[in-house]
Protein backbone atom coordinates (compact mmCIF):
# COMPACT_ATOMS: atom_id res chain seq x y z
CA UNK A 1 0.00 0.00 0.00
CA UNK A 2 1.30 3.36 -0.93
CA UNK A 3 1.21 6.43 1.27
CA UNK A 4 -2.20 8.06 1.22
CA UNK A 5 -1.75 11.66 0.25
CA UNK A 6 -4.62 14.10 0.03
CA UNK A 7 -4.73 17.25 -2.00
CA UNK A 8 -3.89 20.53 -0.40
CA UNK A 9 -6.76 22.77 0.43
CA UNK A 10 -6.51 26.54 0.53
CA UNK A 11 -8.38 28.04 3.41
CA UNK A 12 -8.94 31.75 3.71
CA UNK A 13 -8.88 32.91 7.29
CA UNK A 14 -10.21 36.41 7.12
CA UNK A 15 -10.61 39.25 6.26
CA UNK A 16 -13.78 38.73 8.25
CA UNK A 17 -12.96 36.18 10.86
CA UNK A 18 -13.37 36.43 14.62
CA UNK A 19 -9.74 35.65 15.43
CA UNK A 20 -7.73 37.76 13.06
CA UNK A 21 -7.81 40.75 15.43
CA UNK A 22 -8.76 43.17 12.71
CA UNK A 23 -8.86 42.78 8.99
CA UNK A 24 -6.13 40.39 8.06
CA UNK A 25 -6.37 37.67 5.48
CA UNK A 26 -4.37 34.52 5.96
CA UNK A 27 -4.16 32.24 3.00
CA UNK A 28 -3.59 28.90 4.67
CA UNK A 29 -2.53 25.78 2.83
CA UNK A 30 -3.86 22.86 4.74
CA UNK A 31 -3.76 19.13 4.48
CA UNK A 32 -6.68 18.09 6.61
CA UNK A 33 -6.16 20.14 9.73
CA UNK A 34 -2.39 20.37 9.33
CA UNK A 35 -1.11 23.68 8.07
CA UNK A 36 1.71 23.57 5.57
CA UNK A 37 2.06 27.22 4.61
CA UNK A 38 0.57 30.56 5.52
CA UNK A 39 0.58 33.62 3.30
CA UNK A 40 -0.58 36.71 5.15
CA UNK A 41 -2.20 39.41 3.03
CA UNK A 42 -2.05 42.81 4.62
CA UNK A 43 -3.20 46.25 3.69
CA UNK A 44 -6.92 46.12 4.38
CA UNK A 45 -6.45 48.83 6.97
CA UNK A 46 -3.82 50.86 5.13
CA UNK A 47 -4.55 54.52 5.83
CA UNK A 48 -1.41 56.10 4.35
CA UNK A 49 -0.04 57.23 7.71
CA UNK A 50 3.38 57.93 6.25
CA UNK A 51 2.13 59.83 3.22
CA UNK A 52 -0.31 61.75 5.36
CA UNK A 53 2.42 62.74 7.77
CA UNK A 54 4.32 64.44 4.98
CA UNK A 55 1.42 66.84 4.44
CA UNK A 56 0.68 67.95 8.00
CA UNK A 57 2.71 69.73 10.62
CA UNK A 58 4.67 67.96 13.32
CA UNK A 59 1.97 68.48 15.95
CA UNK A 60 -0.69 67.18 13.66
CA UNK A 61 1.09 63.87 13.24
CA UNK A 62 0.38 63.00 16.87
CA UNK A 63 -3.36 62.29 16.44
CA UNK A 64 -2.43 59.97 13.60
CA UNK A 65 0.04 58.03 15.72
CA UNK A 66 -2.86 57.41 18.10
CA UNK A 67 -4.70 55.62 15.41
CA UNK A 68 -1.86 53.32 14.48
CA UNK A 69 -1.76 51.32 17.67
CA UNK A 70 -5.16 52.18 19.01
CA UNK A 71 -4.83 49.84 21.97
CA UNK A 72 -1.73 51.59 23.26
CA UNK A 73 -2.15 55.10 21.92
CA UNK A 74 -0.21 56.62 24.80
CA UNK A 75 2.82 54.55 23.90
CA UNK A 76 2.48 55.50 20.24
CA UNK A 77 2.44 59.16 21.26
CA UNK A 78 5.32 58.54 23.60
CA UNK A 79 7.50 57.05 20.89
CA UNK A 80 6.84 59.91 18.53
CA UNK A 81 7.49 62.68 21.02
CA UNK A 82 10.63 61.00 22.30
CA UNK A 83 11.95 60.78 18.75
CA UNK A 84 10.99 64.39 18.07
CA UNK A 85 12.66 65.60 21.24
CA UNK A 86 15.80 63.72 20.31
CA UNK A 87 15.73 65.36 16.91
CA UNK A 88 15.16 68.83 18.35
CA UNK A 89 17.41 68.23 21.38
CA UNK A 90 14.80 69.33 23.89
CA UNK A 91 14.93 68.34 27.53
CA UNK A 92 11.44 68.25 28.97
CA UNK A 93 10.60 69.17 32.56
CA UNK A 94 10.83 66.35 35.04
CA UNK A 95 7.14 66.31 35.83
CA UNK A 96 6.38 65.73 32.17
CA UNK A 97 8.67 62.71 32.13
CA UNK A 98 6.94 61.28 35.15
CA UNK A 99 3.48 61.88 33.75
CA UNK A 100 4.46 60.27 30.49
CA UNK A 101 5.80 57.21 32.20
CA UNK A 102 2.72 56.88 34.37
CA UNK A 103 0.50 57.12 31.31
CA UNK A 104 2.68 54.82 29.27
CA UNK A 105 2.72 52.13 31.94
CA UNK A 106 -1.00 52.41 32.58
CA UNK A 107 -1.58 51.97 28.90
CA UNK A 108 0.79 49.03 28.85
CA UNK A 109 -1.32 47.36 31.51
CA UNK A 110 -4.47 48.15 29.56
CA UNK A 111 -3.02 46.83 26.35
CA UNK A 112 -1.69 43.66 27.95
CA UNK A 113 -5.01 43.07 29.66
CA UNK A 114 -6.75 43.19 26.34
CA UNK A 115 -4.11 41.00 24.73
CA UNK A 116 -4.39 38.36 27.45
CA UNK A 117 -8.15 38.48 27.52
CA UNK A 118 -8.48 38.17 23.79
CA UNK A 119 -6.00 35.35 23.86
CA UNK A 120 -8.27 33.55 26.26
CA UNK A 121 -11.11 34.24 23.86
CA UNK A 122 -9.13 32.74 21.00
CA UNK A 123 -8.60 29.60 23.04
CA UNK A 124 -12.29 29.57 23.90
CA UNK A 125 -12.51 30.97 27.42
CA UNK A 126 -14.97 33.79 27.49
CA UNK A 127 -15.10 34.79 31.12
CA UNK A 128 -11.50 35.92 31.76
CA UNK A 129 -11.85 38.25 28.81
CA UNK A 130 -14.67 40.10 30.47
CA UNK A 131 -12.90 40.27 33.81
CA UNK A 132 -9.88 41.79 32.12
CA UNK A 133 -11.96 44.20 30.10
CA UNK A 134 -13.68 45.26 33.30
CA UNK A 135 -10.34 46.26 34.82
CA UNK A 136 -9.12 47.85 31.60
CA UNK A 137 -12.20 50.00 31.69
CA UNK A 138 -11.04 51.53 34.95
CA UNK A 139 -7.74 52.49 33.37
CA UNK A 140 -9.59 54.11 30.49
CA UNK A 141 -11.64 56.03 33.04
CA UNK A 142 -8.43 57.40 34.47
CA UNK A 143 -7.32 58.44 31.01
CA UNK A 144 -10.63 60.13 30.44
CA UNK A 145 -10.24 61.95 33.69
CA UNK A 146 -6.78 63.08 32.68
CA UNK A 147 -7.17 64.10 29.08
CA UNK A 148 -10.80 63.75 28.13
CA UNK A 149 -10.48 60.83 25.75
CA UNK A 150 -10.77 57.15 26.41
CA UNK A 151 -8.98 55.56 23.50
CA UNK A 152 -7.24 58.05 21.22
CA UNK A 153 -5.63 60.54 23.50
CA UNK A 154 -3.41 62.98 21.63
CA UNK A 155 -2.06 63.55 25.11
CA UNK A 156 1.69 63.79 24.74
CA UNK A 157 3.01 66.73 22.83
CA UNK A 158 6.49 67.58 21.76
CA UNK A 159 8.01 69.18 24.84
CA UNK A 160 5.16 68.49 27.21
CA UNK A 161 1.76 66.99 27.70
CA UNK A 162 -1.58 68.52 26.83
CA UNK A 163 -3.07 68.59 30.34
CA UNK A 164 -1.62 68.40 33.77
CA UNK A 165 -2.73 65.52 35.97
CA UNK A 166 -6.03 66.13 37.75
CA UNK A 167 -5.91 67.02 41.42
CA UNK A 168 -6.36 63.67 43.10
CA UNK A 169 -5.01 61.49 40.32
CA UNK A 170 -2.35 59.93 42.52
CA UNK A 171 -4.97 58.77 44.99
CA UNK A 172 -7.20 57.32 42.28
CA UNK A 173 -4.30 55.56 40.63
CA UNK A 174 -2.97 54.05 43.87
CA UNK A 175 -6.52 52.95 44.65
CA UNK A 176 -6.72 51.24 41.31
CA UNK A 177 -3.38 49.50 41.76
CA UNK A 178 -4.38 48.23 45.20
CA UNK A 179 -7.55 46.84 43.72
CA UNK A 180 -5.84 45.48 40.64
CA UNK A 181 -2.92 43.53 42.06
CA UNK A 182 -4.99 40.78 43.71
CA UNK A 183 -6.96 40.42 40.48
CA UNK A 184 -3.89 39.08 38.70
CA UNK A 185 -3.98 36.03 40.94
CA UNK A 186 -7.59 35.48 39.99
CA UNK A 187 -6.77 35.64 36.29
CA UNK A 188 -4.05 33.11 36.86
CA UNK A 189 -6.32 30.74 38.70
CA UNK A 190 -9.07 31.09 36.19
CA UNK A 191 -7.10 30.96 32.97
CA UNK A 192 -3.34 30.65 33.24
CA UNK A 193 -3.10 27.51 35.34
CA UNK A 194 -6.11 25.94 33.72
CA UNK A 195 -4.95 22.60 32.40
CA UNK A 196 -6.84 22.92 29.15
CA UNK A 197 -5.30 26.33 28.53
CA UNK A 198 -1.83 25.02 29.32
CA UNK A 199 -2.34 22.07 26.99
CA UNK A 200 -3.42 24.38 24.21
CA UNK A 201 -0.50 26.78 24.55
CA UNK A 202 2.51 24.98 26.01
CA UNK A 203 4.89 23.55 23.42
CA UNK A 204 2.85 25.16 20.65
CA UNK A 205 4.38 27.57 18.17
CA UNK A 206 7.91 27.67 19.49
CA UNK A 207 9.98 30.64 18.27
CA UNK A 208 13.66 29.92 18.93
CA UNK A 209 15.69 32.93 20.04
CA UNK A 210 17.79 33.24 16.87
CA UNK A 211 14.72 33.05 14.64
CA UNK A 212 13.04 35.70 16.74
CA UNK A 213 16.01 38.05 16.45
CA UNK A 214 16.36 37.46 12.73
CA UNK A 215 12.69 38.18 12.17
CA UNK A 216 12.94 41.33 14.21
CA UNK A 217 10.41 40.04 16.70
CA UNK A 218 10.54 42.30 19.73
CA UNK A 219 8.86 43.04 22.99
CA UNK A 220 7.10 40.34 24.99
CA UNK A 221 7.32 37.98 22.02
CA UNK A 222 11.12 38.18 21.99
CA UNK A 223 11.36 37.97 25.74
CA UNK A 224 9.10 34.94 25.62
CA UNK A 225 11.87 33.33 23.58
CA UNK A 226 14.28 33.97 26.41
CA UNK A 227 16.16 37.00 25.07
CA UNK A 228 16.52 39.64 27.75
CA UNK A 229 15.99 42.71 25.62
CA UNK A 230 13.89 45.63 26.72
CA UNK A 231 14.39 49.09 25.29
CA UNK A 232 13.38 50.59 28.61
CA UNK A 233 16.40 48.92 30.23
CA UNK A 234 18.88 48.58 27.39
CA UNK A 235 18.47 51.89 25.60
CA UNK A 236 16.73 53.92 28.29
CA UNK A 237 14.66 56.81 27.08
CA UNK A 238 12.82 59.42 29.10
CA UNK A 239 13.67 58.60 32.72
CA UNK A 240 13.19 54.85 32.71
CA UNK A 241 16.70 54.38 34.10
CA UNK A 242 15.54 55.76 37.43
CA UNK A 243 13.06 53.00 38.15
CA UNK A 244 13.65 49.60 39.62
CA UNK A 245 12.01 46.86 37.63
CA UNK A 246 12.81 43.46 36.24
CA UNK A 247 12.62 42.36 32.67
CA UNK A 248 10.68 39.11 32.75
CA UNK A 249 11.81 36.52 30.23
CA UNK A 250 10.24 33.24 29.27
CA UNK A 251 11.57 30.14 30.96
CA UNK A 252 9.56 27.38 29.37
CA UNK A 253 7.22 27.45 32.34
CA UNK A 254 5.04 24.54 31.24
CA UNK A 255 6.64 23.56 27.97
CA UNK A 256 9.42 24.57 25.62
CA UNK A 257 11.16 27.92 25.78
CA UNK A 258 9.54 30.33 23.36
CA UNK A 259 6.14 28.68 23.08
CA UNK A 260 2.79 30.44 23.16
CA UNK A 261 2.49 30.00 26.89
CA UNK A 262 5.78 31.79 27.49
CA UNK A 263 4.67 34.75 25.45
CA UNK A 264 1.43 34.85 27.41
CA UNK A 265 3.22 34.42 30.70
CA UNK A 266 5.74 37.19 29.99
CA UNK A 267 2.86 39.58 29.43
CA UNK A 268 1.30 38.55 32.70
CA UNK A 269 4.59 39.15 34.52
CA UNK A 270 5.08 42.45 32.75
CA UNK A 271 1.81 43.71 34.14
CA UNK A 272 3.25 43.17 37.60
CA UNK A 273 6.44 45.03 36.66
CA UNK A 274 4.38 47.92 35.31
CA UNK A 275 2.54 48.11 38.59
CA UNK A 276 5.92 48.32 40.30
CA UNK A 277 7.04 51.19 38.05
CA UNK A 278 3.75 52.98 38.57
CA UNK A 279 4.04 52.83 42.33
CA UNK A 280 7.56 54.29 42.21
CA UNK A 281 6.58 57.00 39.77
CA UNK A 282 3.49 58.01 41.72
CA UNK A 283 5.58 58.26 44.87
CA UNK A 284 8.32 60.47 43.44
CA UNK A 285 6.39 62.66 41.03
CA UNK A 286 7.61 66.26 41.35
CA UNK A 287 5.57 69.39 40.84
CA UNK A 288 6.05 71.89 38.09
CA UNK A 289 4.66 73.16 34.87
CA UNK A 290 3.87 70.75 32.08
CA UNK A 291 3.73 73.31 29.31
CA UNK A 292 7.11 74.87 29.96
CA UNK A 293 9.01 73.53 27.00
CA UNK A 294 6.25 73.57 24.41
CA UNK A 295 7.70 75.18 21.29
CA UNK A 296 5.41 77.69 19.61
CA UNK A 297 6.18 76.42 16.17
CA UNK A 298 7.92 73.11 15.71
CA UNK A 299 10.69 73.52 13.18
CA UNK A 300 13.37 70.93 13.86
CA UNK A 301 16.85 71.33 12.40
CA UNK A 302 17.77 69.47 9.25
CA UNK A 303 18.61 65.86 9.88
CA UNK A 304 17.11 62.56 10.73
CA UNK A 305 16.61 60.44 13.79
CA UNK A 306 15.66 56.85 14.44
CA UNK A 307 14.44 56.27 17.94
CA UNK A 308 12.78 53.19 19.27
CA UNK A 309 10.73 52.89 22.40
CA UNK A 310 9.14 49.99 24.15
CA UNK A 311 5.47 49.85 23.32
CA UNK A 312 3.39 46.98 24.75
CA UNK A 313 3.93 45.09 21.54
CA UNK A 314 7.66 45.64 21.25
CA UNK A 315 10.12 48.07 19.75
CA UNK A 316 8.16 50.92 18.30
CA UNK A 317 10.57 52.88 16.17
CA UNK A 318 10.07 56.23 14.49
CA UNK A 319 12.33 57.33 11.68
CA UNK A 320 11.81 61.06 11.36
CA UNK A 321 13.56 63.10 8.73
CA UNK A 322 13.37 66.85 8.78
CA UNK A 323 14.27 69.37 6.10
CA UNK A 324 13.87 72.41 8.32
CA UNK A 325 10.26 73.17 7.38
CA UNK A 326 7.28 72.84 9.72
CA UNK A 327 6.18 69.64 7.98
CA UNK A 328 8.09 66.39 8.30
CA UNK A 329 10.04 65.29 5.25
CA UNK A 330 9.60 61.64 6.07
CA UNK A 331 8.05 59.79 8.96
CA UNK A 332 8.46 56.06 9.08
CA UNK A 333 6.92 53.98 11.76
CA UNK A 334 8.58 50.68 12.44
CA UNK A 335 5.74 48.89 14.07
CA UNK A 336 6.38 45.90 16.33
CA UNK A 337 3.27 44.04 15.25
CA UNK A 338 4.40 44.15 11.61
CA UNK A 339 7.57 42.25 12.39
CA UNK A 340 5.78 39.92 14.78
CA UNK A 341 3.30 38.93 12.11
CA UNK A 342 6.03 38.14 9.62
CA UNK A 343 7.20 35.24 11.76
CA UNK A 344 3.79 33.57 11.65
CA UNK A 345 4.43 31.56 8.50
CA UNK A 346 7.65 30.06 9.78
CA UNK A 347 6.27 29.23 13.20
CA UNK A 348 2.92 27.80 12.19
CA UNK A 349 4.07 25.22 9.68
CA UNK A 350 3.12 21.75 10.76
CA UNK A 351 0.62 22.86 13.38
CA UNK A 352 -3.13 22.55 13.20
CA UNK A 353 -5.63 25.25 12.34
CA UNK A 354 -6.55 25.65 16.00
CA UNK A 355 -2.90 26.19 16.79
CA UNK A 356 -2.56 28.84 14.12
CA UNK A 357 -5.26 30.77 15.92
CA UNK A 358 -3.41 30.24 19.20
CA UNK A 359 -0.09 31.36 17.70
CA UNK A 360 -1.62 34.40 16.03
CA UNK A 361 -3.26 35.36 19.29
CA UNK A 362 -0.04 34.94 21.25
CA UNK A 363 1.79 37.33 18.92
CA UNK A 364 -0.68 40.04 19.95
CA UNK A 365 -0.94 41.92 16.70
CA UNK A 366 -2.89 45.10 16.08
CA UNK A 367 -3.78 45.51 12.46
CA UNK A 368 -4.01 49.27 12.73
CA UNK A 369 -0.33 49.29 13.40
CA UNK A 370 0.65 46.72 10.83
CA UNK A 371 -1.09 48.42 7.94
CA UNK A 372 -0.66 51.96 9.26
Amino acid sequence: MGVVKGDQMILNIGPQHPSTHGVLRLEVMTDGEIVSEIRPHLGYLHRCFEKHSENVTYEQVIPFTDRCDYLAAMNSNFGYVVAMEELMEIKVPERVDYIRIIMGELNRIASHLLALGVYGLDIGAFTPFLYMLRDRERILDMFEYTCGARLLYNYMWVGGVSHDLPKDFEKICIGFLDYFEPQIEEYNNLLTYNKIFVERTADVGVIPADVAVSYGVTGPNLRGSGVKWDVRKDEPYSIYDRFEFDVPVGDGHFGTLGDCFDRYWVRMLEIKESVKILRQALKDIPGGDVHQMLPKKIRPPKGSVYRRTESPRGDLGYYIMSDGTPTPYRVKMRSPAFTALSVLDEVSRGWMISDVIAILGSLDIVLGEIDR
Partner: protein
Protein backbone atom coordinates in the same frame (compact mmCIF):
# COMPACT_ATOMS: atom_id res chain seq x y z
CA UNK B 1 32.15 49.79 19.18
CA UNK B 2 31.60 53.39 18.29
CA UNK B 3 30.34 54.45 14.92
CA UNK B 4 33.81 55.58 13.84
CA UNK B 5 35.27 52.18 14.66
CA UNK B 6 32.51 50.43 12.75
CA UNK B 7 33.15 52.65 9.75
CA UNK B 8 36.87 51.90 10.00
CA UNK B 9 36.13 48.18 10.11
CA UNK B 10 34.01 48.44 6.98
CA UNK B 11 36.63 50.53 5.27
CA UNK B 12 39.43 48.09 6.02
CA UNK B 13 37.39 45.17 4.73
CA UNK B 14 35.93 46.90 1.69
CA UNK B 15 38.18 49.86 0.91
CA UNK B 16 36.65 52.67 -1.04
CA UNK B 17 33.04 51.73 -0.56
CA UNK B 18 32.18 54.47 1.92
CA UNK B 19 30.78 57.52 0.19
CA UNK B 20 31.68 60.80 1.85
CA UNK B 21 28.63 62.90 2.55
CA UNK B 22 28.34 66.12 4.45
CA UNK B 23 24.72 65.95 5.51
CA UNK B 24 24.88 62.62 7.30
CA UNK B 25 25.23 62.42 11.06
CA UNK B 26 27.87 60.45 12.93
CA UNK B 27 25.93 57.26 13.23
CA UNK B 28 25.13 57.16 9.52
CA UNK B 29 27.32 55.89 6.76
CA UNK B 30 26.63 55.83 3.05
CA UNK B 31 27.89 52.79 1.18
CA UNK B 32 28.10 52.02 -2.50
CA UNK B 33 25.39 49.61 -3.49
CA UNK B 34 27.22 47.26 -5.85
CA UNK B 35 28.72 44.98 -3.18
CA UNK B 36 25.95 45.39 -0.66
CA UNK B 37 25.09 41.74 -0.16
CA UNK B 38 28.69 40.83 0.61
CA UNK B 39 29.05 43.74 2.93
CA UNK B 40 25.81 42.93 4.70
CA UNK B 41 26.99 39.36 5.19
CA UNK B 42 30.23 40.72 6.63
CA UNK B 43 28.35 43.10 8.92
CA UNK B 44 26.21 40.29 10.19
CA UNK B 45 28.79 37.53 10.51
CA UNK B 46 31.96 39.33 11.59
CA UNK B 47 32.37 38.46 15.27
CA UNK B 48 33.41 42.00 16.17
CA UNK B 49 30.42 43.57 14.48
CA UNK B 50 27.73 40.84 14.52
CA UNK B 51 24.79 43.03 13.58
CA UNK B 52 22.16 40.38 14.13
CA UNK B 53 19.13 42.65 14.22
CA UNK B 54 17.76 44.76 11.41
CA UNK B 55 15.88 47.36 13.40
CA UNK B 56 14.36 49.29 10.59
CA UNK B 57 14.52 49.68 6.85
CA UNK B 58 13.43 53.01 5.49
CA UNK B 59 13.07 54.24 1.98
CA UNK B 60 13.69 57.93 1.41
CA UNK B 61 13.04 60.04 -1.64
CA UNK B 62 15.54 62.88 -1.61
CA UNK B 63 13.56 65.09 -3.92
CA UNK B 64 12.10 65.39 -7.39
CA UNK B 65 15.48 64.99 -9.10
CA UNK B 66 17.57 63.44 -6.36
CA UNK B 67 18.21 59.75 -5.93
CA UNK B 68 16.16 57.35 -3.85
CA UNK B 69 17.74 55.97 -0.72
CA UNK B 70 17.35 52.91 1.41
CA UNK B 71 18.37 53.29 5.01
CA UNK B 72 19.13 50.27 7.14
CA UNK B 73 19.24 50.62 10.90
CA UNK B 74 21.37 47.77 12.15
CA UNK B 75 21.78 46.79 15.74
CA UNK B 76 23.83 44.16 17.48
CA UNK B 77 22.20 42.30 20.33
CA UNK B 78 25.58 40.99 21.42
CA UNK B 79 27.67 44.16 21.42
CA UNK B 80 24.84 46.64 21.82
CA UNK B 81 26.07 48.97 19.10
CA UNK B 82 24.29 50.28 16.07
CA UNK B 83 24.88 51.85 12.70
CA UNK B 84 22.70 53.30 10.01
CA UNK B 85 23.64 52.33 6.47
CA UNK B 86 22.48 54.51 3.60
CA UNK B 87 22.48 53.26 0.03
CA UNK B 88 21.53 55.50 -2.86
CA UNK B 89 19.70 54.30 -5.92
CA UNK B 90 19.30 55.70 -9.35
CA UNK B 91 15.87 57.26 -9.64
CA UNK B 92 15.02 55.76 -13.01
CA UNK B 93 16.13 52.24 -12.27
CA UNK B 94 16.37 51.79 -8.50
CA UNK B 95 17.72 48.44 -7.48
CA UNK B 96 19.98 46.89 -4.89
CA UNK B 97 20.72 43.41 -3.63
CA UNK B 98 18.20 41.97 -1.22
CA UNK B 99 19.27 41.11 2.29
CA UNK B 100 16.10 39.13 2.88
CA UNK B 101 17.94 35.88 3.52
CA UNK B 102 20.30 37.44 6.06
CA UNK B 103 17.79 39.19 8.23
CA UNK B 104 14.47 37.48 7.65
CA UNK B 105 12.50 40.58 8.57
CA UNK B 106 14.09 42.17 5.52
CA UNK B 107 11.55 40.16 3.55
CA UNK B 108 8.60 42.30 4.59
CA UNK B 109 10.55 45.51 5.07
CA UNK B 110 11.84 45.31 1.50
CA UNK B 111 8.41 44.51 0.19
CA UNK B 112 7.06 47.54 1.98
CA UNK B 113 9.76 49.80 0.57
CA UNK B 114 9.21 48.33 -2.88
CA UNK B 115 5.53 49.02 -2.46
CA UNK B 116 6.06 52.63 -1.49
CA UNK B 117 9.10 53.63 -3.58
CA UNK B 118 9.46 51.06 -6.32
CA UNK B 119 12.96 50.13 -5.25
CA UNK B 120 13.61 46.62 -6.56
CA UNK B 121 15.54 44.34 -4.24
CA UNK B 122 17.27 41.83 -6.45
CA UNK B 123 17.27 38.30 -5.18
CA UNK B 124 14.16 38.74 -3.08
CA UNK B 125 12.08 35.61 -3.45
CA UNK B 126 8.66 37.20 -3.26
CA UNK B 127 8.79 40.77 -4.54
CA UNK B 128 5.15 41.80 -4.40
CA UNK B 129 3.33 44.81 -3.09
CA UNK B 130 2.40 44.36 0.52
CA UNK B 131 0.19 47.22 1.71
CA UNK B 132 -1.28 48.57 -1.51
CA UNK B 133 -3.35 46.36 -3.79
CA UNK B 134 -1.38 44.39 -6.37
CA UNK B 135 -2.66 46.48 -9.27
CA UNK B 136 -2.03 49.88 -7.74
CA UNK B 137 -0.29 52.31 -10.04
CA UNK B 138 2.67 54.42 -9.03
CA UNK B 139 4.86 54.53 -5.98
CA UNK B 140 2.93 56.40 -3.30
CA UNK B 141 5.70 57.78 -1.12
CA UNK B 142 7.78 59.25 -3.94
CA UNK B 143 7.63 63.00 -3.92
CA UNK B 144 6.40 63.17 -7.51
CA UNK B 145 3.54 60.73 -6.94
CA UNK B 146 0.21 61.57 -8.47
CA UNK B 147 -2.80 59.73 -7.09
CA UNK B 148 -4.91 57.58 -9.33
CA UNK B 149 -8.08 59.25 -10.54
CA UNK B 150 -10.13 56.13 -10.29
CA UNK B 151 -9.55 52.64 -9.06
CA UNK B 152 -11.64 49.82 -10.54
CA UNK B 153 -14.30 52.32 -11.49
CA UNK B 154 -14.38 53.95 -8.06
CA UNK B 155 -13.65 57.63 -8.56
CA UNK B 156 -11.19 58.97 -6.02
CA UNK B 157 -12.49 62.42 -5.11
CA UNK B 158 -9.86 65.13 -4.84
CA UNK B 159 -12.06 67.46 -2.83
CA UNK B 160 -14.87 66.87 -0.45
CA UNK B 161 -18.14 67.01 -2.33
CA UNK B 162 -20.93 66.80 0.15
CA UNK B 163 -24.12 68.76 0.43
CA UNK B 164 -23.73 71.75 2.65
CA UNK B 165 -19.96 71.63 2.49
CA UNK B 166 -18.78 73.17 -0.73
Amino acid sequence: MTSAEIKAAIDSQYPGTIVEREDLADHQVELKGDQWLDMATFLKNDPNLSFDQLECLTGVDTGEDGPLETRYNLHSMEHRHKIEVVISHDRENPKVASIEQLWRIGDWFERETYDMYGIVYEGHRDMRRILCPDDWEGWPLRKDYEGQESYHGIVVPKMKEEDGWE
